[in-house]
Symmetry: C2
Amino acid sequence: MAGRKQNSTYTRNEVCIIDCDLTYAVHKLGGRWKLLILDKLCKKKMRFNEIKKEFSYISERMLTLQLRALEEDGLIIRTVFAEVPPRVEYELTEMAFELGPILKQLSDWGGKQRSSVKKD
Amino acid sequence: MAGRKQNSTYTRNEVCIIDCDLTYAVHKLGGRWKLLILDKLCKKKMRFNEIKKEFSYISERMLTLQLRALEEDGLIIRTVFAEVPPRVEYELTEMAFELGPILKQLSDWGGKQRSSVKKD
DNA sequence: TATGGTACTAACAAAAAAGTAACTAATGGC
DNA sequence: GCCATTAGTTACTTTTTTGTTAGTACCATA
């Protein structure tokens, strides 16, 4: 998400793992709050503080980091209005909207998996 | 993946994040090597060293950890044969196979996303 | 002049995940 | 007795990720 060492095994492994489209995709969605943010933005465009209020425990730093990463990956668009106090709006891109149905299936699977694990 | 502190914000946040079936699911698949392992096991059951050879840079420790986590989450089955030297086989569960088509879509999306980001 | 609101940033600390290296048990073959 | 083999384990270090706290700019309003 931010500056990485270039020659750690961690990074070398990542390079070859990210080669796979699937792990690449999961990596892009893997930040702690990213999917939750995408889920909120699915319904409407929102301002920074609006998003923040949705998640009681997220820190401003984390929210900023996740939003920046999503923006960099072309999943959200950030629009700054030249007002005081500042107003910044976030909304999903087409690419992010396409993810919707896939995530729905994954979510359903998650529910199923969760209950099947609980049973044993 | 192993013993967590109970009262860190990290853990408190996780509790509420995991409440969502989607983030729960991604969490289960989020280990560095998990999806790659599942992908290999999709084709055939494999022994520990066989899997290891598929990934030049994975350490035995990491492979063990990821396999154990997958087993615990009901995604793979581990069968130990009482032989010397030991033989252990890993194979997917039904639950894991159901994931196949979803991951395929996610992978396609990943490919698309990757090329769209590269362009800019 | 002081205060408040928005959307952050910087410096730092804590926690988790991933990686390294050395070691283990059991037994068959030399 | 010594070595090789398989599937690990253990203790430790490194790297990344997440969280904490305090502070910023801008102007409007009290």
